[in-house]
Assembly symmetry: D2
Homo-oligomer: 353 residues x 4
């Protein structure tokens, strides 16, 4: 069965959220389905989760399971942005482009100020200038409050630890708290081969959206808070947002399974590897270029509508972002054959360009 | 394994959310775990769900899967209560007592006005008086906007169709929209033996929180909207609230399984039957009385701290609501033996009273 | 000229806001109308105001001029009530009955919990019980955050300093911040003969709505904050609410004139004296009773619709609050003759009762 | 007396809000100060105001007096922008740069999307592109809802009627409602010599912030609503925002005086004429250029820090907007001598450049 109306369908690169969930995660749900358990996070799975994340990030962490990445991002940003505050993010950041004002809604009107930078990364100097221009302390100006970094970025690149630190140091100097939108955090860690702490707790991040959905999860992501004061408020904020499950064990069990045996990194390595396979295979193709280096599992192709038409005729499924940008997302449950089919189709149509 | 720290534990009546999920629901998740599917509700499961609910309620319905009952209630109430509005509910209503201001938050400050009534039911005459007293059209008064009915009620009673209509007719006369908090809607339908439509679309309900979590679900409830204009806004409101799952098939599949073969009613009949078994068994016990007739799966016992102490010593798990109210919730996955143990313990301690 | 459509009109007791402004206040506006002045509170009038209020309340105070008492109350309550918080107030409190959810709106959904008590005063024991019942720390309960006291009360009574302290001590014990709605603060101080500090800074009040409009002002009230942390946030909150006048000198000049030569107390003594004149004159009238002792400038008469009809036929203007409650407000610009006319009319109709 | 700490002070061009109020407006307050009047806009002044604005704009208008231009703008934008909506405005628009998120706060998180254009005017083609790019109907995108035009612009230019229509036609085509921020509406009308209706009701404007403060008012601006449905909601929204004065006559009387004998246009002509005098006088000065043509009462000078230093040494007061932008605002109560002093100082320092 397929859920679309088109007749013959080829490889599906529309998003990592069109893919399946890791069987291990679903099995964990099934395994948790016995006996009774205290509700609202009072269960043993949820308790264990707190310790597991503290270990993973080498710092005291408080974890809140929430339904979606949008919820994780919006609640995180709202927790560090007052209604009179300005939140700085890259001009392609997901909170700005794809979450229907969720951050603004939860923060009671916090302003989003965009910052440029290559490949979806906030440029530290541009951030410095933007924050300075925002007029801290000037009573008629939205007050600089927070920074949002997307890891991997919305163009598929990855911040190295030093790059995260460069941005957070600017933030810290101006008194901003830092949120990392880690919808594809696993892909970044897997690519960099560093520890999760190097990208977060040791790099100036106060609060993290820890994504699972796009990398083998199904209905659960997490907010990980490294700042005690923010965490104390968050406990109420998530509840008031309808994001605390009464049968919390079924959410916590998913996240535990996701960490067990490094499933999260194994999945990310698979989708990353598919993207890398594309990257290597595409190098010889004339007229094919990228919006950003392929460092996670996403490919942003700079191409023409004619080439996009050709790919679609071949049954390749992807997203047209604009007349010259096509997005292809590799999934942990994708295959090398699909990449090869994409490459073949691309070769055919690009060379005809 | 048990998730609490106490050594020997007996039957668990703390809530229906301490219980398990129906295996059918988890199996449906597993079955949906194949191929790719369009994200954000564009999948075939979600599409089918729309039709299934329209059929179930014999009217055009728009369904939104959300993470929790709090989300369902708060988003529903906010959809029919402007920030200057007054929402009427029973003085024991869940939105008032147990959702940390979620309805107020999502509505931008909507006021909750309480109405008395027996057994957790809004009394129509009291509602009429309360709405009249609220001062519709008077510019300094919060404006009457909405009515919240809880089915089954927060004291475990059930509104018969005529009782729903009696309340909604008052609401309609005053121009209020009507939300039904159906966290235990299945229990009410199962008890009454009527059709879902008789309690909702044919009884003046505009929007329904359709609970699954407490009755065999795990991480998903639903908002069912019968008013087209409200539904159009809701599509944005749920998204902006972080309550639209990208992998929507895994939510929709749960709800489909819940409806398949009337699983929802079969589960509710089991928990109802356990409550009835208690009801019948408790009749002979001296000094035992109820806060409301047992009509769903909840038992609100009027008793003494001494009796509660005795039950706890016997390992019975329940919730002390106040010095003279103890709540026991029967679960679809509970057993007759557990009820009998509760009755035996109660008999022992009540007679010593 | 009169602004109503009725032909012959007698004494006007509808509210203190139907009355005039003190000429001194308008003259102060005219006097401030020269030269240029730094905007947004950077002018010398505004600067002087800060010191004047600190002196008046014998503590460091930060004053914010705002347009209305509703703004003062709502911004104050929101400053001490998070969106997941519960605000306690008397069941007749103005923020609940007469401000169209303003406090809920500005706080992002803060819940209002009512507390009974005689004559519009929050009863300390009832407050204690209400806060305890609210379930501090229980994750599904709106969290106790703030207390609102109305001085003079919404039934025209006055809290003595010891009564304020009795209530704020309960609040303090439970960790609540305290707001005093002083729409008629001047009337209370004038009646009690105590110092402003005795009713506020020395009695546990954190933030005060200092009313001027009802007592000789026209378009300006003030928020007086005694808590530095609250004040720091308030500076942004008032601005974001559109309640910071760019030509702030014209607001500050009004408040300065209001304090100069104790105009505020002189005005209050006049309206209080009229109320007292009524009180004394009414004692001999059969069948006349009061909802609360007359301690400020308001009279809440317990009477019948027939008597109210009679008063209206005599041209007396007042507000029917309910079938057995008629409100009469004495104004600083009212006259003894008006009181005598009211008494005469009342005597005529009450004795016919 | 002067309110600043600097010793010798020259002409003050910091803003039009540092200036005085028209004596006529203050006299109107004084004249209204007699008898009693129904509160909350039920008075005859407020009633007359409704008709006067309907006449002025040649369409049914509903007027709401509010305390500040920020309140007028934010409440207006919130009335036409849902929390999931996108509001389009010029990248220098006051709602974005100078109102501490008020529009975002009142709309519950509405996103501000900036549009470029010359001299602070929204370019219709750029607007068209921006709205198209916003993704109407795409569920993850903030939904295009409203357009904000500033008249005169934040660089001191003026939209001709045809320019307003060009922008509102784009808006209309995309289903956006249109707000005009008329903080300096009088200056625009005075400059253009057209009717108020030509710039608003006949040019596609749905709601107008009608500024008085900057042009001879003191503590009052107005929202003028031309859309009945928006007006009906606004009645509650202003009240809930604490922006409905109980003694409404004192606000309405100001606005009536402002319209009487075209005081608003006479004042605007005076400040405009001073700006024109500058414009003509500055033409011969080498190295002096403007950010936008001088069409209202503001002058945005493109110059150097050295020149700004020189002006300041001469006692000229103005605002440094950036290293190469100095703002000078002419006031209705300014003088030709002040302009001449500015020109003389500028000549001196610019020629030394």
């Amino acid at each position: 069965m397929d859920d679309t109306r088109q007749p013959a369908l080829g490889p599906d690169f529309r998003s990592d959220n069109v893919g399946a969930a890791s069987p291990e995660v679903i099995e964990a749900i099934a395994r948790a389905n016995r006996d009774t358990a205290t509700g609202y996070g009072g269960d043993t799975w949820s308790t264990e989760l707190q310790q597991r994340f503290s270990d993973l990030f080498e710092a005291r962490a408080r974890v809140f399971c929430v339904a979606t990445g949008t919820a994780a991002n919006a609640l995180s940003m709202a927790a560090i942005t007052p209604s009179w505050g300005a939140a700085f993010c890259h001009e392609r950041a997901h909170i700005l482009t794809s979450e229907v004002n969720a951050a603004g809604f939860f923060s009671g009107g916090g302003l989003i100020v965009t910052v440029p930078g290559p490949h979806g990364k906030v440029d530290p100097a541009a951030l410095d200038a933007a924050v300075a221009a925002q007029g801290k302390g000037m009573m008629h100006r939205s007050q600089p409050a927070s920074l949002n970094l997307v890891q991997a970025t919305d163009l598929g690149a990855v911040y190295a630890p030093a790059e995260v630190r460069a941005a957070t140091e600017v933030a810290r100097r101006h008194g901003l708290k830092v949120h990392m939108d880690g919808a594809r955090f696993a892909n970044a860690v897997a690519r960099l081969g560093c520890s999760p702490a190097e990208l977060t707790t040791r790099a100036g991040v106060d609060i993290l959206s820890f994504g699972m959905t796009k990398n083998g999860g199904l209905l659960c992501d997490a907010i990980v808070v490294f700042d005690d004061e923010v965490a104390a408020r968050m406990a109420w904020q998530v509840r008031r947002a309808g994001h605390v499950w009464s049968k919390g064990r079924y959410a916590a069990a998913q996240l535990l399974a996701y960490l067990d045996g490094d499933l999260w990194l194994r999945n990310a390595r698979r989708s990353n590897a598919l993207a890398t396979r594309f990257d290597e295979g595409a190098r010889g193709i004339p007229g094919v270029s990228l919006w950003a280096p392929i460092e996670a599992n996403e490919i942003f192709l700079r191409t023409t509508p004619r080439v996009m038409d050709g790919l679609e005729r071949d049954g390749i499924r992807f997203v047209r972002r604009s007349a010259d940008m096509a997005r292809f997302v590799c999934r942990f449950d994708g295959t090398e054959a699909e990449i090869d089919a994409l490459l073949a189709s691309l070769r055919r149509h690009a060379s005809n360009g």
